[in-house]
């Protein structure tokens, strides 16, 4: 019984951190609590949130996807290019971009699963490749001049709620469904816990990896579309560094970097913390360089905490 309570407390600890942070910023700067600002935060985090779902899957199987930011950039450029330069229908352009994003994920899957390149290197390579390709397509200059309707995805509201937030909620629901209600979720946890034992229990680990990296690519792509609609112009630097924030969100949400353990519900808390933190620091006029230092420390702390837990478990 006591153990159960301890477990529950530990499990929800990240939400307490979020709450403390939230209250702290509210006291430090009353503007933080303004409805307008809260919606800004929600819109800001929605991209992290969407991309973090795919990243959660990847990290659950003890992998990593460094190409997330690059995929976001490429989707920005490809979608903008298709709409503006090729005059493609908006919906079709979005679908094409998502397919491209998913295919980059499949490429990651191929390198990790079929060739056996360590995930960190494989996705590092694709990161550079597709960043380069984004520059090549765009010629280094922003692409803009979209249909007015396109704004709706990133800037619109349904009732009082911003559309990106709705997209994020739908994505979290879908991710949580995959993870908890389908056997794929069970497979992900199994593969992350012990790949060899998972294989010997009949899981086709290779295929699972393809699926997971493809999903990661897809969710990154979706985040890219939302970003494009928010900024209303395709930038060849749009997604730079996104993978860092997304990974931080996921690890902060308690997903173990060594795989096999983590909950999507807590990743939501991780996403909110990073969102509140970024916003709060801006409101408090903390320079972006200092913000980098803070975020780096948070990532190290989150992973460090996970590693200490693992060590305790081992002894």
């Amino acid at each position: 019984m006591k153990e159960k309570v301890i477990y529950q407390v530990k499990d929800k600890a990240i939400w307490a951190v979020f709450l403390i942070l939230f209250i702290g910023f509210s006291i430090a700067n009353p503007r933080f609590l303004e409805t307008q600002n809260l919606f800004t935060i929600a819109r800001q985090v929605s991209m992290y949130g969407i991309a973090s779902i795919g990243m959660t899957f990847v990290i659950l199987i003890a992998g990593i996807d460094l190409s997330t930011g690059s995929i976001i950039t490429l989707v920005n450029i490809v979608c903008a290019y298709l709409m503006v330069n090729s005059g493609m229908n908006m919906v079709l352009a979005v679908v094409c971009s998502l397919v491209v994003a998913t295919l980059i994920g499949v490429l990651n899957g191929f390198m990790v699963s079929s060739i056996g390149i360590p995930a960190i290197i494989a996705t590092f390579a694709t990161q550079t490749i597709f960043e380069g390709i984004s520059y090549l397509i765009s010629g280094g200059t922003p692409i803009f001049g979209f249909d007015e309707k396109f704004k709706f995805i990133g800037q619109g509201y349904i009732g009082p709620v911003p559309v990106p937030v709705i997209i994020m909620i739908i994505c979290f629901a879908a991710g949580s469904f995959i993870l908890n209600k389908t056997f794929f979720g069970r497979y992900f946890y199994a593969v992350g816990g012990n790949e060899e034992a998972a294989k010997l229990s009949g899981i086709r680990v290779g295929k699972m990896k393809y699926l997971i990296y493809a999903l990661s690519g897809f969710f990154a792509g979706l985040a890219g579309i939302v970003l494009l609609s928010r900024t209303n112009s395709g930038q060849p630097t749009a997604g730079k560094g996104y993978e860092f924030d997304v990974i931080t969100c996921v690890v902060l949400g308690g997903v173990s970097v060594s795989g096999g353990y983590g909950k999507l519900s807590n990743v939501v808390a991780g996403v909110l913390i990073i969102g509140a933190l970024s916003n709060g620091m801006v409101l408090m006029n903390i320079s972006s360089y200092t913000q980098m230092v803070v975020k780096g420390i948070i990532l190290a702390l989150a992973v460090g905490f996970d590693c200490i837990q693992k060590k305790k478990q081992a002894s």
């Binding site: 056997f183 794929f184 069970r186 946890y189 199994a190 816990g193 229990s201 009949g202 353990y261």
Partner: protein
């Protein structure tokens, strides 16, 4: 306290969650003595010696080395106090030479560069002292297991070890190699090195030991003076029961008209030209030494390794499982040797583990039917009496025997026809062993067919209907039930390939 003892373990107790591995075990070693430590698998020998090296921290008890008292050791303390352990797995680096391995971690240097010539000179001297003929320049990966072990021993001596603990040193060796190992042991004893020698080969113990300490089920049983003791007595102390009690009886369920598995000239994964037939309801034992190719053969059948040539017939049809998934769907199961690393998913629940191979069958459009999932797990928890507080318990928190039952449950849920057991009772305490045997019997009585790999001769003979013996990747002998005999099996098992 007696001054003549160089190492004393007093009242050592070690608890793991749910299991007591050692209960109040004491022993003492004199200078220049060979003390044999014997007991069945799971008696606690390895755990006990690991307390000496710092790999295991005792829950309570004292370790006294040369009069200095410790409550627990660390690897560094062990080394400083002259304790060295030769494990079954060597810590050699295959890509380095014998000399470099000997000085691994503390190379002889000239300034900042490694002085290879000096190391080779010193190594030659060290090997010479132990009468070992190893070329210091030879790469370790090219040396036989016997020589690799010698390097380990030489390394310990070079580091000034006064107490050498050897964990089943003869297990991987050929009979010729065992002889030279004995010579080295005798030599070391003359030099005043104390040796704790772990083995369950009794004849060896009678040849080289001075005293014998018997452990059983984690408990200290008795210390005997080797030359005054009798083999029968020793076996009785080790086993603690009559042999026929160990193995539960089984109805004869063999259906000779039905061949479940037939291998025709299988080669690959280190094995050559293996053929066998396995009838429905039969338990076929696979005997042999470590590295004989038994696990490798199992891998081929289970689809986790590729064969190069030959045919596998399963229930009369030729099969070529390309991965375990395919083998599982055909009705083949494997209970692997390394339970924690390959058998169970430690970080997943009992329920998930049992359902893992059948999720694809019980789910609709990949959505899990949670009722079926629960029912299946509950059914096998009851049937196999798996001791767990809830089905959501992580398998990590279960005892070894219960983990093994979870694996069994998984394959029963998958409705497997042929179940391959690879060392099913390794590291499981005696009570749980008996239960596993009964479960194997139940499976057979339900019409399942079993391929049983075991290095424990007793277990092999007690459980099998027939025994095939492997050596160096070939089948060297087949014994029917009435021909079972440890000596015959060992002879087949140590048959060296004629070049």
């Amino acid at each position: 306290m007696n001054d003549e003892y160089v190492l004393e373990l007093q009242h050592i107790r070690k608890e793991y969650p749910g299991v007591v591995a050692l209960k109040d075990v004491s022993l003492a070693v004199k200078k220049g003595e060979v003390l044999a430590l014997i007991g069945e698998n799971g008696a606690g020998k390895s755990t006990l010696i690991k307390t000496c090296s710092g790999a295991v921290i005792p829950t309570s008890g004292k370790i006294i080395v040369n009069g200095k008292e410790f409550s627990s050791m660390t690897p560094q303390l062990a080394e400083e106090n002259g304790i060295a352990i030769i494990y079954q797995e060597f810590n050699n680096v295959g890509e380095l030479s014998a000399a470099e391995n000997l000085f691994l971690g503390r190379p002889i240097r000239k300034g900042i560069v490694i002085d290879r010539a000096a190391m080779e000179r010193e190594a030659a001297k060290a090997f010479e002292q132990l009468h070992i003929k190893i070329d210091p320049k030879a790469l370790v990966k090219n040396l036989t297991v016997g020589y690799q072990q010698m390097i380990e021993i030489a390394k310990a001596i070079e580091q000034d070890a006064k107490i050498l603990i050897m964990d089943e040193p003869s297990a991987p060796l050929t009979s010729v190699e065992v002889e030279s190992m004995f010579e080295v042991v005798a030599l070391l004893r003359k030099k005043g090195v104390s040796i704790i020698y772990i083995s369950h080969r009794l004849e060896e113990i009678y040849r080289i030991s001075d005293r014998i300490v018997v452990l059983r089920d984690g408990e200290y049983i008795k210390t005997l003076i080797t030359k005054d003791s009798q083999v029968d007595e020793l076996i009785h102390l080790m086993v603690g029961r009559e042999l026929n009690e160990t193995y539960p009886p089984r109805k004869d369920c063999i259906d000779h008209t039905k061949i479940v598995l037939e291998l025709k000239n299988i080669s690959g994964n280190g094995n050559e030209n293996m053929s066998l037939q396995l009838h429905k309801g039969e338990v076929l034992g696979l005997g042999g030494l470590v590295g004989a190719g038994r696990t490798e053969l199992a891998q081929i059948i289970f689809g986790s390794a590729k064969k190069e040539s030959g045919q596998i017939l399963f229930l009369g049809k030729e099969i070529n499982p390309k991965d375990p998934r395919e083998a599982i769907d055909l009705g083949i199961a494997l209970v692997p040797e390394d339970r924690k690393r390959h058998g169970v998913l430690l970080g997943n629940s009992v329920m998930n583990n049992i359902n893992m191979p059948i999720y694809n069958r019980t789910s609709k459009l990949s959505v899990i039917n949670t009722k079926t999932e629960f029912k299946t797990a509950e059914k096998y928890r009851k049937e196999l009496s798996i001791k767990t507080p809830t089905l959501h318990q992580l398998v990590r928190n279960l005892s070894g025997g219960n983990q093994q039952k979870v694996i069994l449950g998984k394959w029963m849920a998958a409705n497997s026809e042929l179940i391959i057991f690879d060392e099913p009772t390794r590291g499981i305490d005696v009570g749980a062993k008996y239960e596993i045997y009964k479960l194997i019997n139940n499976l057979v009585e339900q019409g399942k067919t079993i391929l049983l790999i075991s290095s424990e001769l007793e277990e092999l003979m007690g459980m099998s209907d027939r025994i095939l013996v492997l050596s160096e990747g070939r089948i060297t002998g087949m014994l029917k039930k009435n021909e079972f005999n440890p000596d015959t099996i060992m002879t087949f098992a140590s048959k060296v390939r004629e070049e």
